[in-house]
């Protein structure tokens, strides 16, 4: 891979996000790190090629503005998106209010869509882009009490596949990695 392209990582303060950032920073790649948790700002002390921002990734306008500013500061273009933010939700169909479904959809589907829309212009311009969404085995299977979670991860998978169909001609690839529970929160 080339170190002249920035890797954008969302969910940088989660368990998996921390391990990902550790490995990427050891490679001294230019990184833009995003998380709602203000602790993300501490990453900027690790090395000079890391810029960190704490905000809600669902704000499209702010996301676009931050990526433009950060890529300008780093003097490089965005080539990679590693989307590992998201939430787990649990409850039976009757127990979970509609608002909970909407919130799970917003965080696990709409926010990755927004991030993708914000990085695609850089990738299309340079005819290079690699996107990985951290998903769940629940995109492939269903279990009691995981309806909203499964729906959201299946939706993310459908979005990834559509992204590939629409933008492969720009040398942009996208994949999901569907983790089991132990890989993330246990």
């Amino acid at each position: 891979m080339s170190s002249d392209k920035i890797v954008v990582v969302t969910g940088a303060c989660g368990q998996l996000g921390k391990a990902i950032v550790k490995d990427l920073s050891e490679r001294e790649l230019p990184l833009i790190l995003i998380d709602k948790d203000k602790d993300v700002l501490n990453y900027e002390d690790v090395n000079k090629s890391i810029l960190a921002y704490s905000f809600d990734a669902g704000n499209e306008e702010l996301m676009a503005e931050i990526l433009e500013t950060a890529s300008g500061k780093l003097g490089k273009t965005i080539g990679y998106l590693l989307y590992c933010a998201g939430i787990m939700s649990y409850g039976s169909i009757m127990e979970e209010p509609a608002e909970k479904y909407l919130d799970t959809f917003r965080q696990n589907v709409l926010n990755p869509i927004i991030a993708t829309k914000c990085v695609l212009p850089y990738m299309m311009k340079n005819k290079f882009g690699r996107i990985l969404y951290v998903s769940s085995v629940f995109s492939e299977i269903t279990r009691k009490n995981f309806s909203s979670y499964s729906i959201s991860k299946a939706g993310l998978k459908a979005f990834m596949e559509t992204t590939v169909k629409e933008y492969s001609e720009y040398n942009i690839s996208a994949n999901c990695i569907a983790l089991d529970l132990c890989g993330q929160n246990l």
Partner: protein, 53 residues
Amino acid sequence: MMEDKNLVDSYALLPRVFVKVRETARLCISVLLDYEAINGQTIVIDNGYSKMV
């Protein structure tokens, strides 16, 4: 560089789970950076836990 010890502390998890998270992180990075031919795939890492839910 972030210290390994801090990372372990932040997880507050058993070392073997820590290793699993690190391995998962490395796999994610490899898929993102190294495997050019993979496109449009969902790579399932199924360790069987979800089947017990």
